[in-house]
Symmetry: C2
Subunit: 294 residues, 2 copies
């Protein structure tokens, strides 16, 4: 199957399950379900669930078993965007070509919708244990990886170091991104492999792949903020420079950033050697992220 | 042991473990650890952990096994207070006699500290599985109860119905409090009993106890907002009336609210009959909450 066709089929499966796990409810809390679903279905590359499904599928073909985790990680990613966009944080009006959550629902509901999505991530796994055909100990291990990756030593910690930048150098920048973007991408692959039944060595190689992929992802984001077509990107470009953000491009310039992007992508792909043909989709994902336009 | 001595010993054990599970870290995210710990150690009755420890102890004397859950539920309660106090929500400056989190650390860090505490609740359980001497299936069941009680059909849902009140009647008020305050108090008792190894009937009776205790707790809160000594309460009184909040007192008046409080307390205590002497501490807790001054 051609890569784009394959990718779209995985995205479709993810979105079908997101809709199953977080349906609109017509009760007195209806407003928060609308707000949560507004951001959850506002597009997005679904890269974390796709990575998790594929690393799982390399070892286990019962894809239904990983769907609660795949949707949970997408909910966590989505909540982080809602909270990051708040006036008290980055104060962004647009995301993926649509108004941000608080512009539509107000700050109070946007805060609660973010809380609700983080909470719902854990509910989604825990309320669907009966559909997850892996041992309870592996479910607990996968939940542990998930919770650590999204916490203060992971994604939330990354947001703290981004909000309160203390040093403007490459070491600080990579520390920040390892937490802010890297942690969840790494967790996606580690959970997929762990739940799928990979060996320690296999998990470690996939973790390396995800580490470099996560860094490459962020370099690309920084480059796009300077070079993208605004309509294709779905939000105003040039905001990093305007807001004096610490990014690869503001620190090192475009040319050097492009070099780093290609180097990280190479390193990600090199980590996959032991898997041979089985890792072909993961290589294609790295290539796709390298060349993406939004 | 006299009740107050016993209660204080349980509070001390809780706070010792909170300190172990959420130490101050001297890394680049130090600010968020300070902010999280500021609110986590700002006092509080620790009623949820105490209820969980006691319902667990009725069936199982290995108290260490329940401490990750007991601290997790207190972290969730604390995060909800931080977010509720934000300017976009209730906009409160004082809580328990101290400045609220965002008044000390700013809105951005208060939002992140709340997110961090919710996330840390799950991390606390999942990173300490080896200290929990109960089967993996029961750990998963307890996590499920915890996550559902704090979600959009529980505590967060309660906050939504409180922020956007649609009807001013007793039925709506009790729906709101069942979610906002009741869900977490009920979860405390259900998790304690489930993890401890209680039978279905025992869990059900303790759940009834917690249901009425949770409602009584909220009626008492509403009464205190009208009658408490400001210094003892640690925040300004009369704010419910000023903000035109839907509460038992604003809806039904003080006298009727006091009647309801006593009725719910009676119902809570009646649910404990089958346990005889073993539920003595739970009866004392109901009595203590009935008479509290803050």
């Amino acid at each position: 199957m051609e890569f784009k066709t394959w990718l779209n089929s995985k995205i479709k499966i993810t979105e079908k399950h997101l809709d199953i796990y977080l349906p609109l409810k017509d009760n007195r809390q209806k407003a928060i379900y609308e707000s949560m679903r507004y951001s959850l279905f506002a597009g997005g590359k679904r890269i974390r669930p796709v990575l998790m499904m594929e690393t799982f599928n390399m070892f286990n073909d019962n894809e239904n078993s990983i769907m609660p985790f795949a949707c949970a990680i997408e909910m966590i990613h989505t909540y982080s965007l809602i909270h990051d966009d708040l006036p008290a944080m980055d104060d962004d009006d647009f995301r993926r070509g649509k108004s941000t959550n608080h512009k539509v629902y107000g700050d109070a509901l946007a805060i609660l919708a973010g809380d609700g999505l983080l909470n719902k991530a854990f509910e989604t796994v825990l309320n669907n244990i009966s559909t997850i055909a892996i041992p309870a100990e592996k479910i607990l291990k996968s939940l542990e990886i998930l919770s650590n990756s999204s916490g203060t030593e992971g994604m939330i910690g990354g947001q703290v170091t981004d909000m309160f930048v203390e040093e403007r150098n490459l070491e600080y920048l990579e520390y920040m991104h390892k937490l802010k973007t890297g942690a969840l991408i790494k967790a996606a692959c580690e959970i997929g492999a762990t739940a799928g039944g990979a060996t320690e060595e296999e998990i470690s190689k996939l973790s390396d792949y995800a580490h470099y992929l996560g860094l490459a992802f962020q370099v690309k984001d920084d480059i796009l903020d300077f070079t993208a077509d605004e309509e294709e990107l779905g939000k105003p470009i040039g905001s990093d420079e305007k807001n004096d953000k610490l990014t690869y491009v503001t620190l090192l310039g475009l040319e050097k950033s492009q070099e780093i992007l290609e180097d990280y992508t190479d390193k990600a792909v090199s980590s996959l050697e032991i898997f041979g043909e089985r890792a072909e989709r993961l290589r294609e994902i790295a290539e796709y992220l390298l060349k993406r336009k939004n």
